[in-house]
Assembly symmetry: C2
Homo-oligomer: 106 residues x 2
């Protein structure tokens, strides 16, 4: 499994709504993530909007490419895009920055 950590920036005035939306992610979005290899996937939010994602996947490139072909992902990302700062026209799943893993203890 590859362990993936990425960050995004949620607009500070949209935090409450962003949090609320993630209490009830669409079932077909959850199914698409599981089917395309997004496992043990968590999102963590800091008060100022720093959003940290963590997931495990057999293949990072395949996980991204797999979701990119799903219609439900396009709908979800379109609804999420206005919550984010600094995307410059990209979808959230195209705009995130992956961080380098420098340590791991099983």
């Amino acid at each position: 499994m590859e362990r993936v950590c990425f960050i995004l920036q949620v607009k500070p005035d949209r935090l409450a709504e962003y949090r609320e939306r993630h209490r009830s992610v669409w079932p077909d979005m959850l199914a698409a993530l599981a089917e395309t290899g997004w496992h043990n996937y968590s999102l963590f939010l800091r008060d100022d909007g720093l959003l940290i994602g963590y997931f495990e996947t057999p293949n990072y490139a395949a996980a991204l490419a797999g979701m990119a072909t799903r219609e439900v992902n396009e709908r979800w990302q379109r609804e999420m895009a206005p919550f984010f700062a600094d995307l410059e026209g990209r979808r959230p799943d195209e705009g995130f920055l992956r961080l380098e893993e420098i340590f791991h203890l099983a």
Copy 2:
């Protein structure tokens, strides 16, 4: 298991050395982490020094308290402290900010 995400800030001019130190963490430090419930523990580093930690534990308070009693942790944290910004005299394991989990998909 509780999933824990925390952040710290490494001094930008110490990144290379910090990365290097984490390629060879002391075996007794790794053993102490495992024994006190730090599982699937990763550190991720952004170019500007933003450090993100992720681990899973049966009990977050017990994991922190357990490491706080270990002599090896005191030595390790003392050696790591100069790498961090904004600790204001605290040890790195006392200075980190835990982030709120807002989403999880198994």
